[in-house]
């Protein structure tokens, strides 16, 4: 793994003006990513994962109903300070995105081949023939059988898994340094999800791409990422090495999230430890800690004072959490350890 920093995000805030008020979809997120490193972002729907991904891409730009604050630098270039033209060059070559639903992220009236060749021709200046050859090669790399024949097919003629492979090929065509995959398997059939995740992981590894894997499925992220970032209501609540987060979550929300997943090893009819309530209205989030209304450990202080994202790690790796009363570390907690360890084994 090289030390080269590919992505630097500093205090990014993305706000939308809506009829119900200002929605801070992303509220003060900072992170950095090195080449070859994989970051998982998890959280419930509406927690700001997609908006963060799109803000990093620069697909969300300041406009009359949208405000983006803070800075995003990809390979040293500030995305939001760039001109539209520079940004397009960035999109072609430095950063690419895989979207959730391959049904809707391919143009239904365009042939599979065109989706890939047009970017190759625009960014690499290849001629028609060279672009087609390269596209076929890419399709083969993402595991599409009979790539030459697929080139002239329309997206609807392919199955969901094959379509997502095309989307991945499209994203890889100009060798990006950073890949953002926004719920790449959520819309797919259970039997193909794992294959697509495995494909992404192996491509990221062989190409030394920095990768952000966004998902609401903790199982998809566990074991595939170096670090995990848990988001709640637009903010990062916890971030650390993947194993550490799953084995010993320090933030009450992460703990609740892990506990609410039914586990295959549990006997039937095990009562799940659900988190009570539902995520806050983003146009009017609670004061203090945003998780306070649902937190089993809530104290008075939590309702008034917003917790900072602070280093609470006890090992070499960084472990940050935004909680006034973080849960004890597994190793120092004594009795609390065994059930968590069992849980982590199951998840990862």
């Amino acid at each position: 793994m090289s030390d080269q920093t590919v992505l630097e995000v500093e205090d990014v805030r993305t706000e939308f003006q809506t009829a119900r008020g200002v929605v801070r979809a992303v509220d003060g997120v900072s992170l950095s990513l090195r080449a070859g490193e994989t970051l998982g972002i998890v959280g419930e729907s509406g927690s700001g994962k997609s908006v963060l991904g799109r803000t990093i891409m620069g697909l969300i730009t300041t406009g009359h109903t949208t405000q983006v604050h803070g800075s995003v630098r990809i390979a040293g270039q500030d995305v939001h300070a760039s001109s539209p033209k520079e940004r397009r060059r960035l999109w072609g070559s430095e950063v690419a995105m895989v979207f959730q639903d391959p049904m809707t992220s391919l143009n239904p009236v365009k042939r599979v081949g065109t989706h890939i060749t047009e970017a190759l021709r625009l960014h690499l200046g290849l001629d028609k023939k060279a672009a087609a050859e390269r596209a076929i090669d890419l399709l083969r790399q993402v595991g599409i059988p009979e790539p030459a024949r697929r080139m002239s097919q329309f997206p609807h003629e392919l199955s969901g898994g094959m379509r997502q492979r095309v989307v991945i090929a499209m994203a890889l065509c100009c060798d990006p340094k950073l890949l953002i995959a926004d719920e790449p398997t959520t819309a797919l059939d259970v039997t193909v999800q794992k294959q697509i995740l495995d494909l992404l992981t192996s491509l990221a590894e062989s190409r030394q791409m920095a990768t952000i894997l966004i998902s609401h499925d903790l199982g998809a992220v566990a074991g595939r990422t170096d670090r995990v970032q848990v988001m709640y209501a637009g903010r990062v609540v916890e971030r650390s090495a993947t194993g550490e987060v799953f084995e010993g979550p320090r933030h009450p929300y992460t703990e609740g999230l892990l506990a609410s997943i039914p586990r295959l090893s549990d006997p039937p009819h095990t009562t799940l430890r659900a988190i009570v309530g539902s995520p806050p209205n983003m146009a009017n989030p609670p004061d203090g800690c945003r998780f306070a209304p649902r937190c089993p450990y809530v104290q008075d202080r939590c309702r008034t004072e917003q917790p900072e994202l602070l280093e609470i790690g006890v090992r070499r790796t960084s472990h940050v959490a935004a909680c006034h009363y973080p849960l004890p570390d597994v190793d120092t907690a004594g009795d609390a350890a065994p059930p968590r360890a069992a849980l982590a084994e199951e998840i990862s």
């Binding site: 259970v190 794992k194 609410s260 039914p262 295959l264 039937p268 659900a274 998840i347």
Partner: protein, 331 residues
């Protein structure tokens, strides 16, 4: 003889719901038809939850709807207790159907957006022929709303778009409960929900089942979810039954290669081996399903026999039935 067998049925235990050799086909023109469900048999004992598992397009929803007679199956019999549903005329059918209620995957779109929660939940009473004063009616609605974990005073006058997905699903459950059903058919009721809300709804369904003496058919594609809520799991593939297994043993004892594939596909399933080639092959067209065993085009264990001869469900261990010529059973 083309059926998947009936070895797993338990007529002697007086099931509340029995489905016998049910076939659902959709003509799609030019003499072709989609074989959505082919010879499905199942039964449901009082208080039991039957999980139905399978990937997209394998006929889970179609089977659930055909049990409700929405629409009636192409052939086969559906019995609710002693009552034969197939062949009933529309009025008695409506009455019988109200003893079964269905919960759908997308909670928001299965509620009329223009109606308030109180009306959505009350309307069933009229259909069912509830006789009581207006006050009794309201009391019953409030009680049911509380039972599904909604504060009646808060949601009473709200419309679906003012509720979250989880709350909408609770309204759907309350609405179903108002009909006083015996059987609840849940078609992927938690697939559209977040994990934290999914856990709430799963717990709620479990509690509701106890409190209202329900039997449940629970359709889903997530093995862990199905295992959590069911007593017995039935695995479907292309409209046919692969395996029926007590849910507590699904992860350890599954003997059908397709069940194994589903288990291996769980993203966090660790080292469970997934034959890449098997999963990569696409679901064959339901217009022209493979001969013999329908799973053979993707099955790593397929032999010539599998193409020639359709496997029948047979008991491989007590309570576990498998339709496969070469079940995976370690002695």
């Amino acid at each position: 003889m083309a059926g998947s067998g009936t070895a797993h049925l338990r007529p002697e235990q007086a099931p509340v719901l029995t489905v016998d050799d049910m076939v659902v086909e959709f003509p799609v023109g030019r003499g072709q038809k989609v074989h959505a469900v082919s010879g499905l048999s199942l039964d449901l004992l009082a208080g039991e939850t039957l999980g139905i598992l399978g990937e997209s397009g394998c006929g889970k929803s179609t089977a659930g709807r055909a049990v409700m007679q929405l629409p009636s199956p192409t052939s086969g019999r559906v019995r609710l207790g002693e009552r034969e549903l197939t062949g009933l005329t529309s009025r008695p059918l409506r009455k019988a159907r109200s003893r079964m209620q269905m919960i759908m995957q997308d909670p928001t779109s299965s509620l009329n957006p223009r109606r308030k929660v109180k009306d959505l939940v009350t309307e069933g009473l009229a259909i069912w022929g509830f006789e009581g004063t207006k006050q009794e009616k309201e009391e019953l609605v409030r009680e049911t709303l509380s039972a599904v974990g909604l504060d009646p005073d808060v949601v009473w006058d709200r419309r679906p778009h003012e509720l979250s997905g989880g709350q909408c699903q609770r309204v759907c459950i309350a609405r179903a409960l108002m009909m006083n059903p015996e059987v609840l058919i849940c078609d992927e009721p938690v697939s559209a929900l977040d994990v934290s809300v999914q856990a709430q709804i799963l717990n709620l369904l479990e509690r509701t089942k106890e409190r209202y003496d329900l039997s449940m058919v629970f359709i889903a594609h997530d093995v862990s979810v199905v295992k959590n809520i069911s007593d017995r799991v039935m695995v479907l593939y292309l409209g046919k039954t692969c395996e029926v297994i007590p849910s507590g043993r699904i992860d350890s004892d599954a003997a059908h290669p397709y069940t194994q594939m589903l288990l291996a596909s769980i993203p966090g399933a660790g080292d469970r081996e997934l034959s890449d080639s098997a999963a990569a092959v696409e679901l064959p067209s339901p217009l022209d399903p493979p001969s013999g065993c329908r799973f053979r085009t993707r099955c790593p264990l397929a032999t010539e026999r599998c193409a020639a001869e359709e496997p029948e469900l047979r008991e491989v261990r007590p309570g576990q039935y498998v339709a496969c010529h070469h079940p995976i059973i370690e002695e």
